[in-house]
Subunit: 353 residues, 2 copies
DNA sequence: CAAGTTAATGTAACCGCTATCATCATCGGT
DNA sequence: ACCGATGATGATAGCGGTTACATTAACTTG
């Protein structure tokens, strides 16, 4: 309340406008003007087919006239369900999840749903907290990333009757619905691809070994398959912290310094692979002749770089669209039970291998 | 209700668990167990200092015992304010906004706020719709991208007493608080930088001319400054659709095909610049000797590529942190009025210029 | 020690909408 | 003409908190 030079502000401080503005119209106002009860207005808004056309149009007119917007919190409280979709992702920066998020939004925002977004930072405890606070909003559905959860999180997810979707991974035992692809099989596919291309010695650049267990599943698939098809265990470097191109370049340089016989490297994702590609260029390893590099993700620049980056295309967008589809069905009451949807992935063979 | 093979599902369909589970505890339950009134419980939870230590600990114990979680919707309805921050961004995929989002989240999620996120797809009408639906949640604050809004959006923003933050841009006339930097000055700075480096003829690769008016402001600064310091108007290509590396490469190739005298190109962002860089490599234009390339954004790979990309570092994270800071003050009731915060940008001179 | 504060708690009226149940025409069938 | 359906609408009790106001106890202060 330092008052004083308010005048220049475009928008007066709350206190000043308190008495000025007319309050937001309530449903009761609409009802009064339309000459019906609030119950009818409520019906007209959510299940128009239950209201006669004449009454409906009177109500529409009143809504229009007052520019009435329902108070969502009141509705949510009364119906014990909010027009909200909770989504928990492990990182907001990772372009993978952003695309999925955007697709979910596209598929659901049109239906009037709001996305409530939480960032777990790849931490299970953090996820547990987020799940708890999101469930406190009684969302229409909750989408979590991955199928691995803390005990508390698991309990909360099983205990609620909010539809749950686990994404970006598969499991034999979904809480409700799982939509994703096999992370492990990616590693398998790349190992075989390297074999096909005649690589003699494999390498791997990973990141966040301990925290991103999905990336770890890819690694496991790669290592196991490598051995089963006759390679010795791949040479490996792990990035400290989040995967970035700069770190990728550095880690790649270390890997090659220690294991100069490596002639095919799988990078945990395309950003890291890009760093490796540039570093290879600087160090004079010719790609793909002397050295093959493969990424994961098929992000935009993978098709633009030189040589073009071989990578694994993930169904980032398809996951989001499928989630929206399933959720629409689920919320509408059809499709009472969940299931597992494997959306697959695709190895994209380009110039770098 | 197709019933039948439910047995294998981990989580029974809603209908089945209806009568089973005990209902979630309500505040009244906590009050009863602690032997106080709900008013006291409410106080203990939101303003603990108003409750005596003894009572407080009894309440804490009851909360713990029941593992009570307040129903946020009820609280929001009663107090006409929800622990929610609405954020509207023009694109979820753009890494710039993701970083800002993450910073906002870091700064506020700890305080128990949930982020409600909307994607305007660079459309003002879409933004207007989102503003309306977000305000229906009575968020604790609303963050929008940019200072340009449709008439309806403007009215809604001025009309509400929810604190508003406009980000990623500056204005003389903020609705409430603006936190960002001058987009126009970026174009100015790069034009001067090219001059400094001895460029003779400038080029520009843009995108979404019509929709992304912030990018357009950068362009305007670049063009005007170019002319005022003695260049002829820069040669220009506009990408069709969203800026990607692939399109950037293509557009760059076109630009150079038509204007082979160009020796310094500003790309609307780093992703596009990366595409251009690769294309230059393919076409045999040596960077930076024959051709200089500058991006905008300073995304991770800009420091990793070869040559390293000169670019403009934007305060992506700082914007988010500042927003969180201002909002915390604002919501706490201190700092009743808004203001404009210029967080600046930095021209990062690297190998590509 | 009476009167005025201050601190701690209780009472109860909302917040604005949803959903259940009751009401009341209207209508086809017999 | 009577009766049970059927359809449209109204009355109203919550949903689960918050908060203004009332109440009571403890504490100053002259």
């Amino acid at each position: 309340m330092k008052g004083g030079k308010e005048a220049e502000r475009t928008k007066p401080a709350p206190a000043l406008r308190e008495r000025a503005g007319t309050a937001r119209p309530r449903m009761a106002d609409v009802a009064r003007i339309a000459g019906v009860s609030t119950a009818t207005v409520s019906r007209a808004l959510r299940q128009p087919e239950l209201v006669s056309p004449q009454v409906r149009s009177k109500i529409d007119a009143a809504v229009e006239h007052l520019s009435y917007r329902p108070n969502l919190m009141a509705g949510a409280l009364a119906s014990a369900r909010s027009k909200t979709i909770g989504v928990i992702i492990p990182s907001m920066i990772n372009a993978f999840f952003s695309v999925t998020l955007e697709a979910i939004e596209e598929g659901l925002a049109g239906a009037g749903y709001q996305l409530l977004i939480g960032n777990s930072h790849y931490e299970l405890e953090s996820e547990e907290r987020l799940i708890a606070s999101m469930l406190a909003w009684s969302p229409a559905a909750l989408v979590v990333t991955g199928c691995r959860h803390s005990r508390g999180a698991m309990r909360a997810l099983l205990d609620t009757d909010v539809p749950i979707v686990e994404m970006w991974e598969l499991t034999d035992n979904p809480i409700d619905t799982a939509i994703g692809f096999s992370q492990r099989d990616i590693g398998v596919a790349v190992a075989r691809h390297f074999k096909e291309r005649g690589a003699k010695r494999l390498g791997f650049v990973g990141a966040m070994h301990q925290r991103d267990y999905r990336a770890d599943a890819r690694r496991a698939g790669f290592f196991e398959t490598a051995q089963s098809i006759g390679y010795e265990p791949p040479a490996e470097v792990q990035l400290p912290g989040l995967p970035t191109s700069v770190r990728g370049a550095k880690a790649f340089a270390e890997l090659m310094a220690e294991h100069s016989d490596v002639d095919a490297v799988l990078c945990t994702n395309d950003v890291v692979a890009l760093g490796a590609l540039f570093e290879a260029q600087r160090l004079g390893w010719s790609v793909p002749d002397r050295l093959k590099i493969c990424g994961v993700g098929d992000v935009d620049f993978a098709a633009a770089c030189e040589p073009r980056l071989s990578t694994v295309s993930l169904p980032r967008r398809a996951i989001g669209l499928k989630i929206a589809e399933v959720l629409r069905e689920r919320i509408a009451g059809r499709l009472p039970t969940g299931g597992v949807h494997d959306l697959g992935f695709e190895l994209v063979r380009r110039g770098s291998t």
